[in-house]
């Protein structure tokens, strides 16, 4: 399946891009799997995604826990905890 990945804040900086298209294998079922798989794409990805406990995610613009199934997700975002306001 094709997924649009979005990265924000220091995740974006370390990955080196804010957006990319990926096609993870079928074994990648939830967000945590996806993070693991993405970490292998480059040193930047590895640096950004090394500590999943510091990461948060959204599937199709809704916050989800890292064990959320991807299902037919079209857009997945990975980012640090939010700090607005």
């Amino acid at each position: 399946m094709a997924i649009t990945m979005l990265y924000f804040a220091w995740v974006r900086e370390r990955v080196g891009t804010g957006e990319e298209q990926v096609e993870p294998p079928a074994a990648v079922r939830n967000v945590a799997d996806l993070i693991d798989w993405l970490a292998g794409r480059s040193d930047g990805h590895a640096a950004a995604l090394a500590e999943p406990a510091k990461l948060r995610a959204a599937i199709d613009q809704r916050f989800v826990p890292l064990d959320a199934l991807l299902g037919d997700a079209r857009e997945v975002a990975i980012f640090p905890p939010v700090t607005g306001g």
Partner: protein, 145 residues
């Protein structure tokens, strides 16, 4: 009666308050976050998730309207780079009774801190750093559940 805006332009507080006052309510409560001038922060940079951020703010405003009897809710969050003394965020509520306006205003700013995708980076004399979330923010947001 709900107004949500995520914008790199400076927040026009007088205009936002005037719009709330025109709702005909008896009371308007506001909270404005300002870039502090006292801790070495030269500038602040706010990043957001276009689309999701606006939707999250709308959902927050709707939750407040469901919970309190409000005549108006405004949430304006600035993004991009801003300097000390400038407004980061404005939350305003209009209600017939002051208690509802005040509580809803406190609720909105508490929940905004944890429920809306924004990321804050500080520009200091020595470089930049991404702001860490404060655990107190999660406690404050959870207190409304």
């Amino acid at each position: 009666m709900i107004r949500v805006s995520v914008d790199p332009a400076p927040i026009e507080l007088a205009m936002e308050v005037a719009a709330l006052e025109e709702r005909g309510a008896g009371g308007v409560a506001t909270f404005t976050g300002v870039v502090r001038t006292d801790d070495g922060v030269l500038a602040l940079e706010l990043e957001h998730y276009p689309g999701m951020t606006e939707a999250a703010l709308c959902a927050l405003a709707e939750a407040a309207v469901d919970r309190w009897n409000l005549l108006g809710v405004t949430i304006v969050h600035r993004v991009g780079r801003m300097t000390a003394g400038e407004r980061i965020v404005f939350v305003g509520t209009a209600a017939a009774h002051r208690r509802e306006a005040l509580e809803a205003c406190a609720y909105l700013i508490d929940r905004l801190k944890t429920d809306a995708p924004f990321w804050k980076r500080e520009w200091l004399a020595g470089g930049t750093r991404w702001v860490e979330p404060r655990t107190g923010d999660h406690d404050a947001a959870a207190s409304w559940n």
